[in-house]
């Protein structure tokens, strides 16, 4: 770990945050697909942030609850 709190290398960061990274990539892919289909959405920062929160925060909680 470096002084600024970031991991020492990219590989370390990717391994440690693999599951989280997949969620972000999925959110990004969904936004790109929606944006290409409905370009109006590409002007809305709020829509992208909401989609990101759904994928990264809400979805994992929902899946965890379903598994219990």
């Amino acid at each position: 770990m470096r002084e600024d709190g970031s991991p020492s290398g990219l590989r370390v960061a990717l391994v440690a945050g693999r599951r989280e990274l997949m969620l972000y990539v999925a959110a990004g892919a969904a936004y790109v697909a929606l944006g290409v289909a409905f370009p109006e959405l590409l002007f809305a920062w709020v829509v992208s942030a909401a989609l990101l929160l759904v994928f990264v925060v809400v979805l994992p909680v929902f899946v965890r609850r379903l598994r219990q």
């Binding site: 991991p7 990219l10 960061a13 959110a27 790109v32 920062w45 925060v57």
Partner: protein, 291 residues
């Protein structure tokens, strides 16, 4: 105008300045010049009434118009207001840095920005890509992502990805939260995962919409690439010398006075900054009295 660059600039600056900047004011500063103007440039429909500027480029970048929002002075002015409210120097100058980044980035198109307003209403323009805001949002997007604007935003996408360290959770916890009072306040109400997602949101937005516009413009709509300077040439462009002409007083006094005022103003600012830095250096070097 630039598109994804304004989303990604704050991350690039954050990487360079670390704890010396606060991220939220930096981001707000980066978006600020377009916040109150872009909707009127492209036009919106409210209850069946179409609201749109008669001359979108003049409104967006010129004077009279809202072009002052893209000047360096506007950033300083809002920075001073923020300082008066919060008494926090880091918040104030983070906003200024973000707003300056926006104003300088937008100087890359054919209209440019009035960087030294109110000393002069001259539009500083590199003319690398076409300003086509008057054509409407979709043609403007197609044109921007078909010329050097695409490359310019691409540079910021790569630059921001190369600075991946600023996106890590550890960096957010140790550096971003430590410097920015907003995250400490928000941390009392939201989980760390939510905070980190919100911190990364503009990065994801910038990269995703750069990709999406590229796909939309060239796979869905077939706009033609044209990477010539000032391109694409197929779109009607507006140039800097087409704006700010109507209200200009043609008398020789005014014509020679404005650039001169701008020049002397710039010299005064440089002299003031140099004086401050040497005073600061003297203060730092002054030996402490022995006890």
């Amino acid at each position: 105008m630039s598109w994804a660059a304004h989303d990604l600039e704050p991350y690039v600056i954050q990487k360079e300045l670390g704890k010396r900047v606060a991220f939220v004011p930096l981001l707000v500063g980066s978006y600020a010049p377009d916040m109150a103007t872009k909707w009127f440039v492209y036009g919106i429909s409210l209850f069946g009434v179409e609201l749109k500027a008669d001359n979108p480029a003049q409104f967006h970048r010129g004077w009279p118009g809202a072009g002052f929002t893209h000047s360096l002075f506007f950033g300083v002015l809002i920075g001073l207001v923020l300082y008066a409210i919060w008494r926090n120097k880091v918040v104030a100058y983070s906003f200024v840095i973000g707003q300056w980044a926006h104003a300088l980035t937008d100087a890359g198109d054919t209209v440019g920005t009035m960087l030294l307003f109110p000393f002069t209403d001259h539009l500083f323009a590199a003319g690398a890509w076409a300003y086509a805001g008057q054509t409407g949002r979709y043609t403007d997007a197609g044109a921007y992502f078909s010329g050097l604007g695409l490359v310019w935003d691409g540079i910021f996408v790569v630059w921001a990805i190369l600075g991946w360290r600023v996106l890590t959770r550890g960096y957010f916890r140790t550096t971003v939260m430590a410097a920015d009072p907003f995250w400490r306040w928000a941390g009392r109400h939201l989980s760390e995962t939510t905070l980190v997602a919100l911190y990364r949101a503009s990065f994801c937005y910038g990269v995703a919409r750069w990709t999406a516009w590229l796909i939309w413009a060239h796979l869905v709509r077939s706009f033609a690439f044209d990477f010539r300077w000032g391109g694409p040439r197929w779109v009607p462009r507006v140039y800097a010398d087409e704006l700010n002409t109507a209200p200009a007083c043609p008398c020789p006094g005014c014509c020679s006075m404005r650039p001169r005022l701008g020049f002397y103003g710039a010299v005064a600012v440089c002299a003031w900054a140099k004086g401050r830095s040497s005073r600061f250096r003297r203060l730092v070097r002054r030996p402490r009295p022995r006890e």
